[in-house]
């Protein structure tokens, strides 16, 4: 289980999170939605200890992440797959080396085992046989899928997806959605998905949380979010330029964006 408890985080004068709280139960997938720049990536980086909260805390598997020793933190990270927004592949390594990197660090498989696992992970994202190519030789969408393969190759207990379908064509997006659903339903992987794509959120998520002005505006099941009466959430999920449906209200203010 993941629990973010009253997290506050600022970078200089810029306050990004103000008392952000969210819990993710075992085996569920939570979609975290919100405006661009509202702090969604900042929020999930606290889960793997890439950022430390200014106030509040984070628990993963009952362990308080900010209090972990370096060794304990690395042990925890080996259970969490992280899919970066722009893939964050290592330019100087081949795709095979990129995907096998975490496995090499774990040290539990020999080279043949790593190659087999890498092949499986790449096949799962519909990219078989690209092991010898370099990231620069792949399209943006392919790189994104390699990023997902790198995360799932570790067979993690948790996966954090940072906009996994942004910039992909609809068919590839659907393939990635299916993959996320399969990870959750067949392998029981607990997930957090940052997305702006509401269709994708409705498909893959068991619950949806909206981040607004540094904290969770509303969190609920897909049905609850779809039928919400909160005007801010409605505006976002319906993709309207104005707060009210008749357009009488001014567009959402910039104050909502951190």
């Amino acid at each position: 289980m993941i629990r973010l408890d009253n997290i506050s985080k600022a970078f200089g004068d810029k306050v990004v999170l103000r008392g952000f709280s969210m819990d993710v139960k075992e085996g569920e997938t939570v979609a975290l939605i919100g405006y661009s720049g509202s702090g969604k990536s900042v929020a999930i980086k606290h889960i793997v200890g890439l950022l430390e909260p200014d106030a509040g805390t984070v628990f993963v598997d009952g362990k308080e992440v900010p209090q972990l020793t370096r060794k304990e933190l690395y042990a925890l990270r080996s259970k969490i797959g992280y899919v970066f927004q722009f893939a964050a592949l290592f330019d100087s390594l081949t795709i095979g080396e990129n995907v096998g990197m975490g496995l090499r660090k774990q040290g539990t498989l020999d080279e043949a085992g790593i190659a087999e696992r890498v092949g499986e992970a790449l096949a799962l994202v519909d990219l078989p046989g690209v092991e010898q190519r370099y990231p620069a030789e792949l399209s943006g969408g392919m790189r994104k899928r390699v990023g997902i393969a790198r995360a799932i190759a570790l067979r993690p207990k948790y996966i954090l997806y940072d906009e996994p379908t942004t910039g992909l064509d609809p068919v590839t997006s659907a393939v990635i959605d299916e993959l996320m659903i399969r990870m959750q339903q067949q392998l029981g992987v607990t997930g957090v998905v940052i997305t702006h794509d509401m269709r994708s959120a409705y498909r893959v998520a068991t619950r949806i949380a909206m981040l607004y002005e540094g904290s969770v505006r509303q969190m609920g099941t897909v049905a609850e979010i779809q039928h919400t009466t909160d005007p801010v959430v409605r505006q976002f999920i319906e993709g309207r330029a104005t707060l009210e449906e008749d357009g009488a209200e001014a567009p959402r203010g910039a104050g909502g964006r951190a």
């Binding site: 980086k45 793997v48 200890g49 890439l50 370096r70 690395y74 042990a75 990270r77 080996s78 969490i80 797959g81 992280y82 970066f84 927004q85 722009f86 964050a88 592949l89 290592f90 330019d91 990197m101 975490g102 660090k105 774990q106 040290g107 790198r150 570790l154």
Partner: protein, 257 residues
């Protein structure tokens, strides 16, 4: 005025503290042998072997110019074989380590800062961390080790090349014989000369690679931030080479007089 001075001093102390903290993290990363040994050889080739052409080119021209300068300075005053004395002392003690160091500060310092800076701004360093790698062990230790080990090797070879081209210029242009040149080189030669130059070079390599790593891993803000990191790495490395050069001259060189 006093407030501004206080703020300046505080910033400098904080900067020094953060460099110390960074160096401490890198030192801790040394214990993670399995992680850094993977990259150490590759970095030694990139930072050392690939730097040889520029190092040797500078050395060749330095040797020739020094022989001619010595000839100009000594004409009529002291025996010509003193060209060899001057060449040996300046090449081993000062010019090859410093000139090669400054050239490598540009090449190696900027290379490290730009590479690590790009990794930082494209979240590759974060990705390393999520895969349970210590970035200090994986990125910093192999580069600093390679810089510290390979700078003296490049400088050592450059010393030999500078001396050889100085010898060629002394014979071909100045008109010395081989025996006179050898006499000059051996007259005041001490093993210390080479040791001093090489140890100094190792300290330059350590500083240049560490500064490159610090600048790169602290890069922020996309391409502009990476460019700024590379510039900072070159400027600070060059300054640090001159500071270390003065440090060694004031300490070790004075102690053996």
């Amino acid at each position: 005025m006093i407030t501004a001075l206080g703020a300046f001093v505080r910033r400098q102390v904080e900067a020094l503290g953060s460099v110390g903290e960074f160096a401490g993290e890198a030192a801790r990363g040394i214990s993670d042998l399995r992680t850094w040994t993977v990259n150490a050889m590759q970095q030694m080739r990139r930072l050392g072997v690939d730097s040889l052409p520029i190092g040797l080119l500078i050395a060749a021209f330095t040797g020739i110019v020094l022989a001619l300068l010595a000839n100009y300075a000594l004409t009529g005053a002291v025996p010509l074989y003193f060209v060899g004395v001057l060449l040996e002392k300046t090449i081993t003690l000062e010019l090859t380590p410093v000139l090669t160091g400054l050239a490598l500060a540009g090449r190696v310092g900027a290379n490290i800062a730009a590479e690590l800076g790009t990794m930082r701004v494209t979240e590759q360093v974060d990705a390393l961390e999520t895969l349970a790698y210590d970035p200090y062990a994986y990125l910093v230790v192999p580069r600093v080790l390679a810089g510290t080990v390979m700078f003296p090797i490049v400088v050592g070879l450059s010393m030999a090349v500078a001396l050889f081209f100085g010898y060629v210029a002394a014979l071909g242009i100045v008109g010395l014989t081989t025996a006179e040149f050898e006499q000059g080189v051996q007259l005041f030669y001490q093993g210390f000369d080479i040791s001093y130059g090489l140890v100094k070079s190792a300290s330059f390599g350590f500083a240049v690679s560490l500064i490159g790593c610090i600048a790169g891993l602290r890069a922020r803000g996309g391409a502009e931030g990476v460019g700024r990191a590379a510039t900072q790495a070159v400027v600070y490395s060059a300054v640090m080479i001159l500071v270390l050069d003065a440090f060694w001259a004031m300490t070790w060189l004075q102690a053996v007089r």
